[in-house]
């Protein structure tokens, strides 16, 4: 008898990597930020995250069952979406808010297009946009200051604490970006006051607090440092690549430096762009959402264009748009452009001479 051995196309060696390993590593990379959320806002952060993840996973399984396709909830992608939904929610939210967000994200954001790999928009961002449109107050107010647990840092933002008492209440109770936004309408508080507040935003204490996480906001955005630890891990594992986050953040830095001041071009302190980078959802968005592989360009030049586009839109929304924060909308808008970007940024083939 003659033995017959397996045949297949080359290569016959394979790196040990799989879709689940990529997704679970992303989930792992989000853990420092979740721990920071628990640390600053209490256990409610964890509970809301669990609700969101459970809703995402159950929705995925249910729809895949209906579609009669293999159930892939163990690949970790729904878990990541759930975590990201929870990260966009503040701890005073009711339990059903993240649940609805996750259901929408998985059902409409992902499965309706055919599941992982086929979706046009980042599912978590689409879920968040749905929540903001449906429950704007829940999503953008009632934000808790950081919990007593975190009192080893000074509570609330130092700079803002020392503001004169006649600054309208709306400013002191809002997030830093809300303050920055309100400032741009100087008729509300007078230009002298605006100047003072602006200085307090771009003072190094404020920025340190933003960086470490001692600031009101949603669960996942609280600590830039924790997010950066996760991002560094993903970059080290070659799961995210530098082009999108760096071009995104770099664009925000440059544009807020040029246009961020309240007395015309280049009137901002050099610390103001730093304030913009570490506040709001920019770090989370740039490293974990804009880099979503399914919804970002595959070409190298395309990734830079995509990142810059996200940066421009974010700054436009923050400085002149109707919302204090524009990270999620700018990424969603850029998601639409991905096929176009890919088409026009095909790399030059090795040895290719272009006329």
């Amino acid at each position: 008898m003659i033995d017959i051995y397996a045949v297949s196309a080359s290569p016959h060696l394979k790196q040990r990597i799989s879709v689940p390993s990529v997704m679970w590593q992303v989930a792992l990379a989000l853990m420092p930020a979740l721990l920071a959320g628990i640390f600053f806002f209490g256990m409610q952060s964890l509970y809301l995250t669990i609700y969101a993840v459970a809703a995402a996973v159950i929705t995925e399984a249910a729809i895949q069952k209906l579609r009669k396709v293999p159930i892939t909830i163990t690949d970790g992608s729904a878990v990541v979406t759930g975590i990201l939904i929870a990260f966009n929610i503040n701890t005073s939210s009711p339990w059903w808010l993240p649940v609805i967000g996750s259901v929408f994200a998985i059902a409409i954001g992902k499965q309706i297009f055919g599941g992982l790999g086929y979706n046009i928009f980042n599912p978590a961002l689409l879920g968040r946009a749905f929540l903001v449109a449906s429950w704007p107050t829940l999503m953008t107010s009632g934000w808790k200051a950081t919990s007593p647990l975190s009192n080893i840092f000074e509570s609330s933002i130092n700079g803002l604490k020392n503001l004169p008492s006649n600054v309208p209440e709306v400013i002191t109770s809002a997030t830093p970006l809300g303050v920055a936004k309100a400032l741009r309408d100087t008729t509300q508080i007078g230009s002298d006051m605006a100047e003072t507040v602006m200085n307090s935003l771009s003072n190094s204490d404020t920025i340190q607090n933003l960086f470490w996480g001692n600031v009101g906001g949603v669960i996942g955005e609280v600590s830039a440092a924790a997010l950066l630890i996760g991002a560094a891990y993903l970059a080290y594992k070659h799961i995210i690549e530098w082009r999108i986050p760096i071009s995104y953040i770099g664009t925000v830095f440059i544009l807020t430096y040029i246009f961020g001041g309240i007395n015309g071009l280049f009137s901002a302190s050099i610390l103001l762009p730093v304030f913009h980078i570490f506040s709001g959802g920019l770090i989370l968005g740039a490293f974990f959402m804009a880099t979503d592989m399914v919804t970002s360009p595959v070409t190298k030049r395309g990734r830079i264009i995509f990142g810059m586009g996200c940066g421009i839109l974010t700054v436009v929304i923050r400085l002149v748009g109707g919302y204090p924060e524009g990270v999620s909308y700018s990424i969603l808008l850029m998601n639409i452009t991905v096929p176009l970007i890919d088409r026009y940024t095909l790399p030059k083939i090795f040895g290719e001479v272009r006329a």
Binding site: L13, S18, Y118
Partner: protein, 440 residues
């Protein structure tokens, strides 16, 4: 001299430890060999013997089928017992000439032309062509054709490829350690034939002992350089090697190295050329690495062309586990062969044996668009988009994406988290586009 390289590429585990310290061993004369008439790129050779003929070792048994072709020689003495379809190392059935040996190894007469270096370029080329030499790194392009560039494409540099970037393979490494002198003689013959001013020996940095040996040997030759290359796959791919060594980029869309004044030859080919020019010795044997975790005693073997894989494996003591897959060549670009009665050819650099687990391939899942393949493609292509256009039968789009520029190094499939069989899709695309072009 710094460590040179090319953009892109991957770092697979090299698995060379199985065989790298094993000195070349000669396998006992096989009882039977099968000489396929197509072991090279170009027209198959034409058999000039018939069943029943007695042949001597080194006797020509098939003539070249055209200019881009080579003759074949009997690799053992004995009787022609069959001219038929046999298993071929590319995994197909192909015509071959079976010789049953007489165990005498009676040779044709060889010469020892000590003044071989005084021969003219044309005489040298004729001896190379008569010896039936084709590239021994794998692709198998007839060597005399490579050495015959048109007059308007002057060659100023010969690069010897001693990179051996495929995991497992150590055949080239061993000949560099054991036969460095002959390799340099071969290089000088190449340089003389095309009148090249510079000779470069490119060796990957994981072979520092080989680099040292060559540096010492060429100390007095001002026009020969030894270049240490970064450990990276596919460092030994022709275009990538040329770029790393000279910073010249071979034009895409079928451009040849001669367009940038370079000819690349494998170190094994250099030895064959030296033996052909000096001794008029036809190419009837080569060094092959037999390796794999399950091979009892992995070896670098000097074996006659046409030796069956089963004989090679027996010489290594067989396997310790059930065989799952047999690979002819390296694990990245080699062919999986279904039968062990497949003969080795002039381009066979390795015979690898995998167990069932190593042979296992995961099913494809959806492309995540993670772009890992884009980031490492040494040809700067977008493999995922090519595979997708082939999957949906859009071959024009695949061609626009540069599918024909792919050298099938396999790096993309190696890094793909979705286990997409990118090389398989790309191969289908290439075949369909070639068919379409032939019809035109």
């Amino acid at each position: 001299m710094g460590i040179k390289s090319f953009p892109g590429g991957i770092h697979p585990h090299d698995f060379k430890h199985f065989s790298k310290n094993k000195a070349i061993e000669k396998i006992p004369l096989p009882k039977k060999v099968v000489i396929p008439i197509s072991q090279h790129i170009g027209a198959p050779s034409k058999p000039i013997v018939k069943v029943g003929d007695e042949v001597l070792t080194g006797q020509c048994i098939a003539e070249p089928g055209g200019f881009v072709s080579i003759p074949m020689h009997a690799s053992i003495s004995g009787k022609i017992t069959k001219i038929d379809e046999f298993n071929h190392p590319t995994g197909i059935l192909a015509t071959g000439i079976e010789i049953t040996g007489d165990e005498q190894d009676k040779w044709i007469e060889l010469e020892n032309d000590e003044n071989y270096f005084d021969l003219s370029a044309d005489e040298m080329k004729k001896r190379i062509a008569d010896a039936g030499i084709c590239g021994m790194g794998g692709a198998g392009f007839p060597t005399h054709v490579k050495l015959s560039p048109p007059a308007d494409k002057p060659i100023d540099t010969i690069i010897l490829n001693g990179v051996e970037c495929e995991p497992y393979l150590t055949a080239d490494y061993r000949i560099m350690l054991e036969r460095a002198d002959d390799i340099i003689s071969g290089l000088k013959i190449f340089m003389k034939i095309v009148d090249a001013k510079t000779g470069i020996i490119g060796i990957e940095a994981n072979k520092p002992d080989a680099i040292k040996i060559f540096r010492k040997l060429v100390k007095k030759d001002k026009n020969i350089k030894v270049v240490g290359l970064k450990l990276k796959y596919p460092q030994g791919a022709e275009k990538q090697l040329i770029y790393a060594a000279t910073k010249r980029k071979v034009p895409n869309k079928g451009g040849l190295p001669m367009e940038v004044g370079v000819v690349v030859q494998n170190v094994g080919t250099a030895i064959a050329v030296y033996e052909a020019v000096r001794y008029k010795r036809p190419l009837i044997d080569r060094i092959i690495t037999v390796s794999g975790k399950i091979v009892k005693e992995p070896k670098n073997i000097k074996a006659r062309i046409g030796t069956l894989s089963s004989d090679l494996l027996d010489f290594c003591g067989g396997t310790t586990e059930e065989i799952g897959k047999v690979i002819s060549g390296g694990p990245m670009m080699g062919f999986a062969i279904p039968f062990l009665d497949t003969p080795m050819t002039k381009g066979s650099s390795g015979l690898l044996l995998f167990n069932r687990k190593e042979a296992h391939k995961d099913d494809e899942s959806t492309c995540l668009r993670c772009a890992r393949c884009v980031d490492i493609c040494p040809m700067n292509l977008v493999p995922s988009l090519i595979a997708n256009s082939v999957r949906y039968d859009d071959y024009d789009l695949a061609e626009k994406y540069g599918v024909m520029d792919c050298m099938k190094c396999g790096s993309c499939a190696y890094v793909c988290p979705s286990h997409i069989k990118l090389i398989q899709w790309i191969d289908i695309g290439k075949i369909k586009i070639n068919e379409k072009n032939v019809k035109k």
